[in-house]
Symmetry: C2
Subunit: 205 residues, 2 copies
Amino acid sequence: MGTDSGERVIVRRGGDHTRRQAQRVALELFTSQGYEATPLRQIAEALGITKASLYYHFPSKEAILRSLFEDRAAEAEDLVAWLRTQPRSPELLETAVLRWVESFSADKLQGIRFMAANPLIARAMSSAEGGRVGANLTALADELVALLPSPGPTDGLLVRMSILSINAAVEAAAGTDTDDGDIITTAAAAARALLRLIMAGQDRG
Amino acid sequence: MGTDSGERVIVRRGGDHTRRQAQRVALELFTSQGYEATPLRQIAEALGITKASLYYHFPSKEAILRSLFEDRAAEAEDLVAWLRTQPRSPELLETAVLRWVESFSADKLQGIRFMAANPLIARAMSSAEGGRVGANLTALADELVALLPSPGPTDGLLVRMSILSINAAVEAAAGTDTDDGDIITTAAAAARALLRLIMAGQDRG
DNA sequence: GTCTATAGTGGGATAGAC
DNA sequence: GTCTATCCCACTATAGAC
């Protein structure tokens, strides 16, 4: 993914403007209707072009899906990479989880909504052997559980739940008119509550 | 179903045995692959019959889906009905949420997995005007928030999250070999932690 | 209650002109 | 880069025999 730092300075558009628009529209439709339930025709129509024209920009429907997913996976990869640079300590667990949850500014929440709306696809993509998305959230959770002094059998589950609290909050807010900022702060509060639960267990362990 | 005329005495099965089997198989496949991604042919094959035979038992694919969903929705309805018989108090919030979360014995978890795997469909069915599934979880959450002495803007979200903690736990456990019992007890612990969060906010409010 | 055969539809994908 | 036209296939659903 874009590991070069400059990201090509400025005017990137024109070259792939339609392609980016297609990704934006696809993300919306896949989120509101689901991937399988969204025909390419609908994406094309929203762009004002035909189905066939879409194939100039993407070789297949699945390629659109993958392009979306890889954008999101990059964020998890970045966090895992950062984790590896940090000194290992139990406190790092809380720091990492909150860093993850709070990294979602309102515009990035759309990515979480997409994942939450297509859980089976998100799972399949995470475990795809294609390479790319190796550093998924499960890997992150494993790294974090290993930080605990005496990890119990359900601690892995709790850590995963705390990481996924942003997903849970988005899912719980679906269908309501909850403010995006409220979703994020509530998810962070929930994550902290779960982490306290884990730490309390460590004391007893 | 009614070609009787005696002789049937006890053995009620056989009457809708295939139908029930179809529901069982459909629940499994819809959960592991998703509703849209599962062709009727696959369900039929798993039963050892043909696609056409399936149409003897269900008028459409959607009818299979609905039959599954209505079974699950009945549980939420029961809890809401029970809620209405209880004296109103803030303590009822915790009682109700835990009653819900812990009502999932291991065999019922499959229903939650189905919902978790098909969130868009679950949402669409919940808000379907067809009548039946009126008492969904959102309605339950609203009843519960109303029990709080001074409900804040994010309390509704937190209550929904605590109800959905069983879903969150199932989702977090997906892809791992977590024991079903551990999932339920962890979900209950998480629900309690979120409820404590809500109650702490009430003190300050 | 299950079968074979088939209708009918819609979607992903391609060919080739402009 | 976008179009029209088309292919191919898989799926839902139906018809009618046994």
